[in-house]
Amino acid sequence: MTVAFAVTIQGRESVLPHHNLSMDEFTTLYGHFRRTFTAASLVDTTEGDFYYLGPQKMFIEVTYPLRQIMLIEGKVTTIFYPLERTAFRLESENPAILPLIPGLMAAIRPDFGLGDLGFTLYSQEMRGDTVVSSWSHPKARSKIGDYKIAEVKDRLAYTLYVSPDSSNRNRTNFSNYLALGGVSFPTRISSAAQSTAGKAFELVTLSGLKMNLEIPPAVANFQIPADVTVTKRKW
């Protein structure tokens, strides 16, 4: 679905075409994920299924490298280990950051979610079939610099951030899009980051995505079994 999205470029109104609308089109999202994080000589892989159940609510069942169930509901994160019969209930003062979701949501929103952060589109240019736009915060541009967003055929191709002193560089590529209803989701998200701490790479692949799926009772009514001791902690 293509829509016209009005933005302001340095005080002048412009229009960005974008194939996606918003996350309002779905209430739940299910998928299988595989995340591989690489830094120096280590490779850390995690695999499992996730159910995005709405803003600030997510159910994750990790199947590799161990069995773990994670339920995030706003400020409460519950982690259950079915084999070890142990669990945690973690409470924080602010809602927890949902795994996997922020980048996915950024890819399907017309302004990549930057508008909510007070960002302004400063410039746009065509490079072949790629539209590259530069975004920054008007009150912090000199400090944080610009975020470059590249689109190919109305789909987010990559984001690039280089700090003004060039000490931090991060590029995330979005590819292998899958159309579900009126929304296209990237199913391959790869990132490379470089800072004074070193270099790191991350690859997230998603498969079996289903939108507005009826949530299984085991997920919808998930509760830690009564015989399991729950350790309560505050972040």
């Binding site: 995340r35 161990l66 795994p99 922020p102 980048g103 915060h137 912090a140 990132s191 790191a200 902690r233």
Partner: protein, 144 residues
């Protein structure tokens, strides 16, 4: 978020953090974890929790809050930081326990230490300004 109500130095930190969360996926946060995460025991969990807290929480930001907001800033700093759940995904129980404890303690330590320093610096600056004003007022009075 009303950025116009927030001091610029604080706002820059907030904006940069939010953007990295949104656009850079969790990788930037994980870059701090480029240590030995192949071991997933309590010791590693604690070290990674502390490292993540240092990455998430800017000492300079909390110094500015303490400096600008004084005692209120110090009290704000007493609140707990908010870590990403991603770091606990696929990690064993002992790792999760150590990670959360060490993250919380380190985060609180960074915030309170810097906010208190900022609070004291802010108070000191206020005292100097008042002293100058009082001295100036005294000189004016004695001239009469």
């Amino acid at each position: 978020m009303r950025f116009d109500l927030v001091p610029k130095s604080v706002m820059v930190g907030i904006v940069a953090t939010l953007c990295l969360m949104l656009l850079a996926l969790p990788l930037s946060a994980n870059l701090a974890l480029a240590g030995d995460v192949s071991r997933q025991d309590a010791t590693t969990g604690c070290a990674e929790g502390e490292r993540q807290a240092r990455s998430d929480i800017s000492g300079g930001t909390w110094f500015a809050i303490g400096c600008l907001a004084g005692l209120i800033g110090y009290l704000i700093a007493m609140s707990e930081p908010n870590p990403p759940a991603m770091q606990l995904m696929g990690k064993p129980p002992e790792y999760v326990a150590a990670y959360t404890d060490c993250y919380r303690n380190k985060g609180k330590s960074i915030k309170t230490k810097n906010a208190l320093t900022g609070c004291l610096v802010g108070t000191g600056v206020s005292v100097v300004i008042y002293a100058i004003l009082i001295a100036a007022a005294s000189n004016d009075t004695s001239n009469f």
